[in-house]
């Protein structure tokens, strides 16, 4: 009994390795630049371009249509938004309930990822605090029903 006790004591001495311990929420903070949503590994991914943060939504969408930079491409980012999907106008609808984004290209042929990229990017560009932005996409071939960024 004594031996077991001593062995136990000796074995339990000092600082032993532990399992993972969960603490509080992760660190959070602001970003400085323009947020764009690209696609990486089949999901939407956020990138931040180090440009003036108060760019109007039209310009932001233009950056999105321009596609990922060389650096972003090297890191595995792609974009499904076609290069001709240049915005002509971003304006509130007549009743003010949602934002109408008018593109110069067809919108009904856009992939799901492409639509979400546009939605979320507009959302980040135009959002005011605490408000979910609903967007209606208009294009050369008609328009999509109003949607908002899923995440």
């Amino acid at each position: 009994m004594l031996l077991v006790l001593v062995t136990l004591l000796a074995a339990g001495c000092g600082v032993q390795p532990s399992g993972v311990i969960w603490g509080g929420p992760a660190v959070r903070g602001p970003a400085e630049g323009v947020s764009l949503y690209l696609v990486r590994n089949g999901t939407l991914a956020l990138v931040i371009r180090p440009v003036a943060p108060d760019l109007p939504p039209t310009e932001v969408l233009r950056l999105l249509a321009a596609g990922p930079t060389v650096h972003e491409r090297r890191e595995g980012f792609t974009s499904e938004v076609p290069a001709d999907a240049v915005p002509t106008e971003v304006a509130p609808s007549a009743d003010g309930a949602h934002l109408v984004v008018t593109l110069s290209s067809p919108v009904t042929t856009l992939s799901v990822h492409a639509v979400r990229q546009i939605l979320c990017t507009v959302d980040r560009a135009a959002a005011s605090a605490g408000q979910v932005v609903t967007v209606t996409l208009h294009g050369s071939d008609g328009h999509l029903s109003p949607q908002s960024c899923p995440n």
Binding site: G12, G14, Q16, P50, E75, G76
Partner: protein
């Protein structure tokens, strides 16, 4: 006794040590583990808070995905603040430093969630705390989204380990001290218990050896003191009863001696009267003549009995003394037989030239008693054999009677023991063999008394019963009995063994 005391001491010692060690182990290990938990928790929480503060300096994030240079810059910033760190952005990672080999998959998985996570790992035996977190981006709408940037920072726990080691050393020291204390306490307690127990044991032994004056010192009022008191009471009672018994016994002996002496005077007168009667008995006929002869015989028997009683009382009172003289044993034996008119009836084997220094009167009494006994209870022929050893000589008296009953053998030398219920009561006082035995034991050589033993020839030598079992006389008895067996068939053999040179009276002789 010694072994038992030792084991009691050991048991006490073990009990105390076990108690001391168990208590210390429970208390010390309990406080040790508690303190260690508190120290580590404190250190880990502090580290997490401190790292969080450092990480807030990385905001606002400028570019995502960051370039390798930006990642390295951030890592360097953290390192400069005392946090060697690894930053990771998907497949991109800062140059490896001491932290990167320590990262575990489970920590990386935990950091993938939106929490700060930490883990203690061992780096070459020294403990390191790894803290990891993902950098979140705040959205203007108040929600935050993962940026994909993960930070892992390491911090050594060596100082904590040193504190904990000091605690452990303290606990071991406390344990050792308590062990020493337990041993000391156990020894004190054992001494407190064992000393009286040992005294009690010694006293009981002394009492058992016959020292009835043994008393214990009663200390305190505990159970041991109670035992000592009981012991003293018992010893006192024993002593009192012993003294009482001895007094009664000596009273009885003195009474016998006094009675014997008192009887002597009237007996002398009666003897004188019977002498006269004996001379006149020829003229008496019929009942008067028979009565006169009966009175004469009985008076002689009574006189012999009183003489024997006086003799025995001398032995009992311890006043019997040897009167030593140098004699030729064979001549003395022959004289004894001749004096009683037995010379022709006894077959004698008496080697010449055996000299001895003893009490001739007592030798005469012994041999006369033995031979007379053989005539009375055995059957003729009776033989008398003398045999010499360097320091002793033996005399065997054998008869050819039926021998002694095995039940009688152990008691044959007792006073008034009736060996034979049909024994003629007119002959012998019943004290003859007892007196012979006492006389034999008066003769001593180098502290050893002479011996008188009885045995049966027909029933093999090993049935022999020694008059005094504790003396070496047995050996010669067995030897001589078997020797006798070759020349005779059946009968009792009495073996007398006396020293060639008896010790002078006064140096331990007598009872």
């Amino acid at each position: 006794m010694v072994g038992r005391a030792w084991s009691l001491r050991v048991r006490l010692l073990l009990a105390f040590i076990l108690l001391g060690l168990t208590t210390t182990a429970v208390v010390a290990s309990g406080s040790y583990f508690q303190a260690r938990r508190v120290i580590l928790q404190q250190a880990q929480d502090d580290a997490a808070v401190s790292l969080t503060k450092q990480l807030s300096k990385l905001y606002p994030l400028g570019q995502l995905p960051p370039t390798q240079e930006q990642l390295d810059e951030m890592a360097e910033l953290l390192s400069n603040e005392g946090w060697p760190a690894v930053l990771q952005y998907h497949e991109m990672r800062t140059w490896s430093n001491q932290v990167s080999p320590l990262l575990t998959p489970e920590l990386q998985q935990a950091v993938g969630g939106r929490v700060v996570a930490w883990q203690r790992v061992s780096q070459d035996g020294s403990p390191v705390l790894l803290v990891g977190t993902q950098l979140l981006l705040e959205h203007p709408d108040g929600r935050s989204r993962p940026s994909g940037l993960e930070v892992y920072a390491g911090r050594s726990l060596l100082s904590e380990q040193q504190s904990i080691d000091r605690l452990a050393a303290l606990a071991w020291t406390a344990g050792g001290l308590s062990l020493v204390l337990a041993v000391l306490l156990a020894l004190v307690a054992a001494a407190g218990v064992l000393t009286p127990v040992r005294e009690l044991g010694r006293a009981a032994q002394r009492l058992g050896e016959g020292d009835l004056t043994t008393r214990l010192r009663v200390r305190g009022a505990d159970e041991l003191a109670e035992v000592a008191r009981t012991f003293n009471g018992t010893a006192q009672t024993l002593e009192r009863q012993f003294i009482e018994l001895r007094r009664m016994e000596s009273d009885a002996r003195r009474f016998v001696a006094d009675v014997s002496h008192e009887l002597r005077t009237p007996l002398a007168a009666m003897s004188a009267v019977t002498d006269v009667l004996d001379e006149e008995v020829g003229g008496l006929t019929g009942d008067a003549g028979r009565a006169a002869r009966l009175i004469s015989t009985e008076t002689q028997n009574l006189a012999r009995l009183v003489d024997d009683l006086i003799e025995v009382s001398r032995f009992d009172s311890g006043t019997a003394r040897l009167a030593l003289d140098d004699v030729d044993v064979a001549a003395a034996l022959t004289a004894t037989l001749r004096a009683r008119g037995w010379a022709g009836r006894v077959r004698m084997e008496l080697p010449e030239g055996i000299q001895a220094r003893l009490d001739p009167r007592r030798l005469d009494v012994i041999v006369a008693n033995l031979v007379g006994n053989a005539f009375r209870h055995g059957a003729e022929p009776v033989s008398l054999r003398l045999h010499a050893e360097p320091d002793w000589f033996t005399v065997e008296v054998a008869d050819h009677g039926p021998g002694l009953d095995p039940e009688v053998l152990p008691h044959v030398f007792e006073r008034f023991y009736k060996a034979d219920s049909a024994r003629t009561r007119s002959e012998g006082s019943g004290l003859g063999l007892a007196i012979a035995w006492e006389n034999t034991r008066l003769h001593r050589h180098t502290g050893q008394p002479g011996s008188l033993t009885a045995a049966n020839v027909s029933t093999a030598a090993n049935v022999s019963i020694a008059g005094n079992v504790s003396i070496a006389g047995n050996v010669s008895t067995a030897g001589s009995a078997s020797t006798a067996g070759t020349v005779s068939t059946g009968g009792a053999v009495f073996t007398l063994r006396l020293p060639r040179v008896a010790e002078e009276p006064g140096d331990g002789a007598g009872r």
